[in-house]
């Protein structure tokens, strides 16, 4: 009897697992479909005639008609949507008017720069945010806590593009501590063989430490300014998670048993906060990808955000919508990933 019930319990659990997983996948698929639907609609309401944009306004009527059929614009709207979905799944976003490249090629070229910036910013947010949040919770109501509050209020109130400009003004224009905009000084550009597209990794792999240091100097200011938001968010969430833990009885027990205060805070309490923090960090990473649009524009950082705004200003709709879909998909993917990680790490959520 023992063996039978065990396997059936296992089967039961696997079945429940599978059901949860399929519900999750279905909801993600639906969200992605919604994203495609919205971008499709946006592409259709644009007052720019895509045929005219392709053939120019001097083309004869038969050429116009041929291109219109080539682009599939003679089909009914719902069929156009299906064609659109099929194309997106093949990674085909059309051709950019601005660069004359395929949008996919362009995005693959610029995306590593965005990833590099967002990752550096997240590291900044984690390294400073978690200790600050812990200190805020431990010294609740005293100056570390007040400092945390001020940092948070500032972070939620300051326009990030303005902060970037002021940072450039102060550290580049006046103090000359930081190098100017861009990823590298001009004379280092084009030397590296872009293996991953992430300059910090490429230069380290090639052993070009001069370039590595130059790239590090270039990324510091934009990463700190972009990461400020995630610092504010991560520190606030760490504080509230820590407060919750520090009021629990196992903390008192540990103290009574003579565990040192440092171990109580950093090992016992922070250890239990780890799992929700992963979710918070993932969410803030997603937000940074989005926030990079403005930061990249300010620092002329050649990533996806910069590419998007350049395309926007020249009404290059294929590029705009392709970029929107990519950012949206990554955003949705990160949310899914954080959910999955949470389930994986916390046995109660399984």
């Amino acid at each position: 009897m023992g063996v039978g019930s065990q396997t059936s319990a296992q089967g039961n659990r696997a079945w429940r697992y599978g059901r949860k997983l399929s519900a999750l996948v279905a909801s993600v698929a639906l969200t992605f479909l919604g994203l495609l639907f919205v971008t499709f609609l946006i592409g259709r309401v644009v007052p720019i005639d895509p045929v005219l944009a392709a053939v120019g306004d001097r083309a004869p009527a038969e050429v116009y008609e041929r291109v219109r059929i080539e682009l599939g614009l003679h089909l009914p709207l719902y069929q156009q949507f299906f064609v659109y979905i099929a194309k997106v799944f093949q990674g085909d976003f059309g051709r950019s008017v601005l660069t004359a490249n395929l949008v996919t090629t362009d995005i693959l070229r610029v995306f590593p720069a965005t990833l590099e910036l967002a990752t550096a910013a997240t590291f900044f947010g984690i390294l400073l945010g978690i200790p600050m949040g812990v200190m805020g919770a431990v010294h609740q109501g005293r100056w570390p806590d007040q400092l945390l509050r001020v940092v948070g209020l500032f972070g939620y109130s300051v326009p990030v593009f303005w902060l970037g400009l002021m940072g450039l003004l102060l550290f580049y224009g006046r103090l000359d501590w930081a190098p100017g905009p861009g990823r590298l000084d001009v004379f280092y550009e084009g030397i590296l063989n872009p293996r991953t597209g992430v300059i910090l990794i490429d230069s380290a792999l090639a052993g070009e430490w001069v370039i590595f240091r130059n790239a590090l100097a270039h990324i510091a200011l934009p990463a700190i300014i972009l990461g400020y938001y995630s610092l504010a968010y991560i520190s606030r969430m760490t504080r509230s998670f820590m407060l919750e833990q520090l009021n629990q009885e196992y903390i008192t027990t540990a103290r009574v048993k003579g565990v040192s205060e440092r171990a109580v805070i950093w090992r016992h309490a922070l250890g239990n906060v780890r799992i929700p923090l992963v979710t918070v960090i993932a969410l803030s990473y997603g937000n940074l990808l989005e926030g990079s649009v403005l930061t990249e524009t300010v620092f002329a950082w050649p990533g996806l955000g910069f590419y998007l705004t350049k395309s926007l200003l020249s009404a290059d709709m294929n590029a705009v919508l392709g970029g929107t879909i990519v950012v949206g998909a990554v955003f949705i993917g990160i949310n899914l990933l954080s959910d999955a990680l949470y389930r994986l790490m916390d046995p109660r959520a399984r």
């Binding site: 971008t39 990030v160 003004l169 509230s240 403005l294 998007l308 926007l312 919508l321 929107t324």
Partner: protein, 313 residues
Amino acid sequence: MKDLSLNNRVTAQGHGLRQWLLSNAPRSRRQARLGRAYQAWLTFSQNRLAMIGLGIIIVLVATAALAPLMAPYPPNAPDLSERLAPMSSAHWLGTDELGRDILSRIMHGSRLTLYVIVLVAIIAAPVGLLIGTVAGYAGGWLDMVLMRGTDIFLAFPKLILALAFVAALGPGIENAIIAIAITAWPPYARIARAETITIRKADFIKAARLQGAGPTRLIWGHVVPLCLSSLIVRVTLDMAGIILTAAGLGFLGLGAQPPLPEWGAMISSGRKFMLDQWWVAAMPGIAIFVVSLGFNLLGDGLRDVLDPKAEGR
């Protein structure tokens, strides 16, 4: 009992007014309502930071209303002999590349800021309220469909979506408002739905239904008023974000177009002279910062008063 006898003699002024408002035994609906409002005000006004926030907002509204009277110069009058002048007694915050007074432009720009946040709130909050209350009240498949739609919108990156919408609609302040409103409503729908579900089964709703009230009347007359306080808190807290997004769109050249004195667009045009004439870009940014700070402080204070459940979040 003592209290009551005191209240009978109350005159509607000074110390007496306070007594009347704080009475434990209000004699009319109006007295009860005013009393509650007064108590909320007392709690709110003890919060120093929230009062600072309120002060900032009042200054903003007053500036917007009185901009033509208060501003020392017209917002769009170029004076080429005074181009890029630094701060002085004639131009407190200096002048921009066309010799326009920056202080005057910021004052007039407060009208645009107010215009954006008021319109976004007027569009987004009722949409969210309607969708949320209907979904929560109806339940079943309608709830599922509406909330799936909300979740889809919630899962999008907001700024990027607003950018794409503006790209499609064309740059301009009205289109920026529409784009921001389209991305702003989903959290309101979630809040309204959550509140609706908790009160849907309450006795007073059943009583109203027994009296013959239809769904429209129940939602509009009984459910919506109870959702309002948490909605107001959320909208106030979102105002800062709306201001920052609108300024961001203006900075990218997709929001208000020149020569409108929109703060984000002003920063964008000051960018070219930033290293030498820093005030052109710096000053409008300070204005944006102060106003969003005001809304954040006010929102925090309102949350403590209107929505004590959410405290500490």
